[in-house]
Each structure stands twice: as C-alpha cells, then as structure tokens.
C-alpha cells in the first residue's frame, strides 16, 4: 500500500516534469504557430479563473465542514434563508466573467479561421485511414511538409467518412467532411517535426491515422518538394517507386500486401492467378487487367467484393502505373 502510494506520487511528479520538458506548460504543448496565442491566452484566463473559483469553493466547503460539524448539544443557527443581494452578486460576477471569456474566445476564433490572403495552399484528402497532401505542383505526400514562417492554408475533403485534422502544437483542428471542402490554416514559427492526428472517430484505423508535420526552411522545403515530386526519378528501382506510389495513393487502406483480404482483395501474388468476376466471367491476371483495374475499377468487379474502388485515371500517369505493376509483381516472391 505504501509502495503503491510512493509509486503513484513519483508518477505524478514525473507527469509534471514531463510536461515541462518539451517546452510547453503543464497544460499545453509549446506554442509552435504564430496564432497559438488565440488559444493560449483565453485558455490561461479561464484556467486561472477556474483555479480561483475552485479554491474558493474548496476553502469555503472545508471551512464550513470543520467549523460547523455536528457536535452534541450544538444546534444549527438560524440564518437568513435567502438574500437577493447576495444571489445577485454571485450571478452577476460570473456573468461578467463569462462575457469576457466569450469575447476573447471569439477574437481568437476569428484569428484561427481567417488565413491571410497570400497563403500557400495544400490540398488534403482524408480517407480511411491515411492522409494525402497534394501540393500546388501536383506532388503528393503522406506527411505534411511545410515551409517555416509562411502562412499555409489547407483545403480539405474526405473520400469516405468524417475525419478531423488536428495538430496540437499549432492549435489547429478542423473536421474533414465528405461532400464539402473545409479549410484551416497555420504559420509555423520554427523548423521541427510535430504530430498530426485524426481526431474524428472514423473506424478501425482511427488511432493509426497519424502523420507528421515537417517544418523546413524555405530552401530545404523547395528541395524536398522537387525530390518528393519526382517519384520515378528519385527512386532507385521501379519497384521502389511503385511501393511509394502505393503508399501515397492510399491503396493500402483497402488492399493488403500480405495475403489478408480487406475492403478490396489482397494484391499479393495475384499475377497469373485466375480471378472470377461478379458477372460470372473470369480472367487470368496480367498487366492489362491490372492497368484496367486501376483506371476503370468498375469494369470488372472481383467476385465477393463491391464496386468501391475509386478510379485513378488522370491521377496516375502511365509510367507510374507501370511502376505500380512492377511493385505488385515483386510481391509474388515474398
């Protein structure tokens, strides 16, 4: 029992230390975006008010319990059963305080919702259970790379259910809703690497729907962009390029490469197999069939599956599809 108490106490102190160690406060992670004040200032305002009121209530409660605890022979003293003045005081003071709270929160919200005119725009596509970031030049990535010190606007949409993009260090959170665009923005203060979470429950992989935010100096960012854009060029082999494409385009959210079926069939070892389709026909899997599966997934629906695969026509070049095919073929060996 004593051990347990000591252990718990030391855990508690570690909790406090850990909180400090990353440069943040006990309550909030370090403010890494220029708009962090919009959250932090109000947060601390409410926090200190809460400390105050909690301490007040706690103190009064303890005082009364100790002072007026029941003792033999001592009766309760009759006091006023109401006091409009007192009650007005303790309604109006909180009222004033919450009006300030609302206003400060509103000002902060306006900041968080109003990107500057000239912002660098990145398209975000969320799907079960991965993020895809598309840059103005068409480059795609699964982590969010941004330049430091420039406002970045995210224009987001979802391919399936509601997700939510959250970067706690930047005080950014916005739901990503199917059938509409949602927007958010931030401006990073310094280079570094931060966590990005999906914070709207979206099914099995919700807690794996993570990504990193990598903040670069402008030059490094440009270099990264060039490198990331040329997948075929900066990969040693077509197979490696195919693997990257497979990840970037989120094929893995429906297809496994290890033999287990998911929403779509596994893509391990399919070459040379003969597949039956829902219209009753069948076909041996070859390059043409795979190319067709990617460009017009609805043409042949594998038996036992639904027509759920989106088309990649226009999103993947012919060469990229070739690389993908090389990659899929490479899965046969393993």
């Amino acid at each position: 029992m004593v051990d347990f108490a000591v252990g718990t106490l030391s855990d508690l102190s570690r909790m406090a230390l850990l909180a400090q160690s990353d440069g943040g406060s006990f309550w909030l992670p370090p403010p890494e975006s220029v708009s962090s004040w919009a959250v932090d200032n109000v947060f601390y305002y409410i926090l200190y008010l809460s400390y105050f009121f909690f301490a007040l209530i706690f103190a009064v409660l303890v005082l009364f319990v100790v002072r007026y605890r029941r003792r033999p022979g001592v009766e309760a003293v009759k006091t006023a059963t109401h006091s409009t003045l007192l009650e007005a005081v303790w309604s109006l003071i909180p009222l004033g305080l919450v009006i300030i709270m609302f206003y400060a929160g509103f000002v902060g919200y306006v900041e968080l919702r109003s990107p500057p005119e000239q912002a660098y725009e990145i398209l975000v596509t969320a799907r079960k259970w991965s993020w895809q970031f598309t840059y103005p030049d068409g480059t795609m990535a699964t982590d969010l790379h941004v330049p430091v010190g420039e406002p970045v606007r995210l224009v987001m949409s979802s391919e399936d259910v509601i997700h939510s993009l959250s970067i706690p260090a930047f005080r950014v959170k916005m739901d990503v809703v199917p059938g509409r665009y949602t927007r958010t923005w931030f401006q990073a203060k310094q280079p570094g690497k931060f966590d990005l979470y999906c914070t709207e429950y979206c099914g099995t992989g919700h807690s794996d729907m993570l990504a990193s935010v990598v903040v670069h100096q402008r030059e490094a960012f440009d270099a990264w962009l060039v490198e990331a854009g040329d997948i075929l060029g900066n990969s040693a082999t077509p197979v490696e390029a195919g693997e990257k494409l497979f990840r970037l385009h989120g094929c893995g959210s429906c297809h496994s490469t290890d033999g287990t079926p998911r929403i779509g069939p596994t893509l391990k070892g399919i070459f040379g197999e003969t597949h039956r389709f829902s219209d009753g026909s069948s076909l041996a899997v070859d390059e043409n069939y795979v190319r067709q599966s990617i460009n017009e997934p609805g043409a042949k629906i594998r038996e036992g599956y639904k027509n759920q695969m989106p088309t990649y026509k226009g999103r993947l070049s012919n060469d990229e599809i070739t690389a993908l095919i090389q990659y899929l073929k490479s899965l046969d060996g393993g």
């Binding site: 949409s157 059938g179 949602t182 927007r183 027509n307």
Partner: protein, 122 residues
C-alpha cells in the same frame, strides 16, 4: 349548453369541461373548407415567392381554428395552450437555427459539388 349538461343528476354539479355548441362546430368546419379551397386557388395564380407565405398563412389560420375550437383550447386550462405554444416555439428554434447554419455553409458544399461533378453512382 350549461343547462343541458346540468340536468343530469350528480353531486359535483359544475360541468367538467366546456361543451361545444353545434353551430360553432359547423361554422368552423365550413371556414376550414373554404380556406382549403383558397389555398388550392392561390396556386392558380403565380405570385412568385409570395405563394409560399400565402399558403403558410392560410394553413396557420386553419390550424389555429382547429386548435381553438375542435381542440377546445379556447375554453381549456391556459397551461395546455401554453404547452402547445411552447412546442411550436421550440420547433421554430430548431428549424430556424439549423437553417441559418446550412445556408451559411452551403458555399463549401456547392464548391465541392462543382469541382467533383461526376455524380455518385446510384
């Protein structure tokens, strides 16, 4: 009407609820029918956006008549009427605030629809 009811023998002698006179019932019914005809007739002329408020106004008059006379609200405990009105107020609140929001976010929905105008397969 009171006399009619009071003739029945009993010890607690005032009636339990107001009894509707027949002429009132018939009058209300006739008015309702006329108003129904008017709503239909109103659609024969095209008044643009104005048609809807007219139709709703007529419907509301009809509803009020039903509530006041057929449902006895006019002679009833005021609290019952209050409950009814409260319901309407909350319905209005629900609809109007939700409407306000959907209208305000509509552009982001339309933008997406225009950009992805391959409509989903049915």
């Amino acid at each position: 009407m009171t006399t009619e009811a009071a003739t029945a023998s009993s010890h607690d002698d005032h009636e339990i609820a107001h009894v509707m006179p027949l002429p009132v019932l018939f009058g209300v019914f006739a008015t309702l029918m006329v108003l129904t005809f008017l709503t239909v007739a109103a659609t024969w002329v095209n008044l643009g956006w104005f048609n809807l408020p007219i139709a709703m106004a007529i419907a509301t008059v009809k509803a009020t008549l039903v509530a006041l006379y057929f449902m006895h609200l006019r002679y009833d405990a005021p609290f019952n009427g209050l409950a009814f009105l409260t319901a309407l107020v909350f319905v209005a609140l629900f609809i109007l605030v939700t409407l306000l929001d959907t209208i305000a976010y509509k552009p982001s929905v339309d933008a997406y629809r225009d950009a992805n105008s391959v409509s989903a397969p049915q």
